[in-house]
């Protein structure tokens, strides 16, 4: 079918600007080229580096096995782009189709892809956050700084927040034989993402590996010495811990501030877009020339009641970037929806944890294979009588099966007996997710309702 003239011109000689030069931005740029876009392509990134992979930073890099600058992403094809690295986007003028940059310049576009991702949520007390020894972990530079400090053999490391990143950091520290205290506001590690039934297993792993795990407490203050070096932390239960290093692992915050006042439906939960990755404006109307992909996007998903879903997942960034890029240069009838089933992994304390679906939407859980005691098992999560998610500890081979159950809306509890199913696995129990109205350091999946302009989010870590 022939393309109309304007789309044909866009594909041949238009200018596409991608804001965000990480995984989603790179994969989108590659898809544009492989699908025949021959116009000008500009990639803008706030970090001075080309696209690199982040998951290794809290694993092999922090373990000291791989240098921080050894995580560049492979390129699938030559993308022939103009790179504007080390300069952040600072504003967007939708009417003029122009992105303003922090160095005072601007870039005009015919079509724009926003893939600005997330950043670590900093310690909320700015003075305390500036103490020597207080770190976050999101970027290559963060990893290099933290690795350097861990090499020096600090007397104790405090990890604030036991989500996936915090737990992985604690695991690395123990493997480096460093004393670690983990402070978690919830009842168990990983409770926001996986619930307390699995969270108890994560807690046991931490104890077995010698982590000083403190759950149900908040860090109320970080105290420095006269030279501005971190010395100790104070807890809400009145306790203290002496530590030379504190890693703030309180989740991520979305990079949408630069869009304030632009008219796009962008807020703390991300940028709302339709299933075809087109951004909504604040009126709830899709903007034809602005697309969104990756961690910063929130889009409706049919498997989850068409609620807007935000996913801080590697696989989502790849899949959504490919759909967004395809749709940017395709006519309406050839556009595709982004229907990816959420998938993620974590490696900690020698265990490979994998998840499919949206566990934190569930009400009940049952251990369908293996046993929590080993711990080698697969857990199925149910929501209102259907399977909504599954999580495996060292049983990744089974997850594809559960993915199909989720996609087919199979009933929960599972109506069949599975291999290696123990008596205790026949009975669903409450999954034990904390009250979703209480903000935590954050599950990496957020089901955030139906409103494209929801901006009512605040975060109070203490």
């Amino acid at each position: 079918m022939a393309l109309d003239g304007s789309l044909e011109r866009l594909r041949r000689e238009g200018h596409i600007v991608v804001v965000g030069a990480s995984l989603a931005g790179l994969r989108a740029a590659e898809t544009l080229r492989t699908e025949g876009f021959t116009g000008a392509l500009t990639l803008i990134g706030d970090e001075p580096y080309g696209p690199y992979d982040r998951p290794p930073l809290s694993k092999q890099v922090l373990l000291g096995r791989v240098p921080p600058d050894h995580t560049d992403l492979p390129r699938h094809c030559a993308i022939d782009a103009r790179w504007r690295l080390g300069v952040a986007a600072s504003g967007l003028d939708l009417a003029a189709k122009r992105v303003a940059l922090a160095d005072g310049t601007s870039v005009e576009y015919d079509r724009l892809l926003i893939a600005t991702g997330v950043r670590s949520r900093p310690w909320p007390n700015e003075l305390e956050a500036c103490l020597d020894g207080v770190f976050v972990l999101r970027t290559r530079d963060d990893a290099a700084r933290l690795d350097h400090r861990l090499k020096a053999g600090p007397s104790r490391v405090l990890v604030i927040g036991a989500g996936f990143t915090g737990s992985e950091i604690a695991s690395v520290c123990r493997e480096r034989d460093l004393p670690v205290t983990v402070a978690e506001r919830g009842a168990t590690p990983l409770v926001g993402a996986l619930g307390s039934v699995i969270g108890e297993v994560a807690a046991r792993l931490q104890h077995q590996h010698g982590v000083d795990l403190r759950c149900g407490v908040m860090v109320t203050g970080l105290e420095g010495d006269s030279a501005g070096r971190l010395r100790r932390a104070h807890f809400s239960d009145g306790g203290t811990v002496e530590a030379e290093v504190a890693v703030v692992a309180l989740g991520a915050t979305r990079n949408t501030e630069w869009l304030a006042g632009s008219g796009l439906a962008a807020g703390p939960r991300g940028i709302a877009c339709d299933a075809g990755c087109r951004a909504f404006d604040i009126r709830g109307i899709v903007a034809d020339d602005v697309f969104v992909a990756g961690d910063v996007a929130r889009s409706p998903h049919p498997l989850f009641g068409y609620q807007f879903l935000s996913l801080e997942h590697w696989g989502n960034a790849v899949a959504q970037a490919e759909v967004a890029a395809h749709n940017m240069i395709s006519p309406g009838e050839r556009r595709r929806p982004h229907l990816w089933t959420p998938y993620f992994w974590s490696a900690q304390f020698g265990v490979n944890i994998k998840s499919v679906g949206v566990p934190n939407m569930a009400d009940h859980i049952l251990i369908s294979q293996g046993s929590l005691d080993e711990p080698r098992f697969t857990a199925a999560y149910g929501y209102q009588g259907r399977v909504i998610a599954a999580v495996s500890f060292d049983q990744a081979k089974w997850l594809e099966f559960y993915q199909r159950q989720i996609e087919q809306a199979a009933p929960f509890p599972l109506p069949f007996t599975t291999v290696d199913r123990r008596p205790e696995g026949m009975r669903p129990v409450p999954a034990g997710f904390p009250d979703p109205s209480v903000p935590t350091h954050g599950p990496e999946v957020t089901v955030s309702g139906h409103s494209p302009t929801d901006q009512r989010v605040t975060f109070t870590p203490a």
Binding site: D69, L73, P74, H76, Y343, W345, G350, N352, D394, K397
Partner: protein, 78 residues
């Protein structure tokens, strides 16, 4: 050379860790650690690992050519 493993796809078969042990290593029973930018002298090992991965989770790019899990059936450049 630059390498990335789709760890959503990886199921811990460990073929890569046998074929290119300087690049890929199992960490525990099932988790995989790897160097995303191994030295070019590991190219043949890495391409063998790419070809042997039962779930085709490894993507490689090298200087002067494009290499992906879907395009490399047998080791090239040996």
């Amino acid at each position: 050379m630059r390498v990335v493993v789709d760890l959503n796809r990886c199921q811990g078969y460990a073929q890569c860790a046998f074929l290119a042990p300087d690049v890929f290593a199992m960490h525990g029973e099932e988790a995989l650690l790897y160097d995303a930018q191994p030295d070019d002298i590991r190219r043949v090992d890495v391409l063998r690992a790419v070809a042997a991965c039962p779930v085709r989770a490894i993507t490689v790019e090298g200087a002067g050519g494009k290499w992906t899990a879907d395009r490399v059936g047998v080791p090239h450049g040996a």
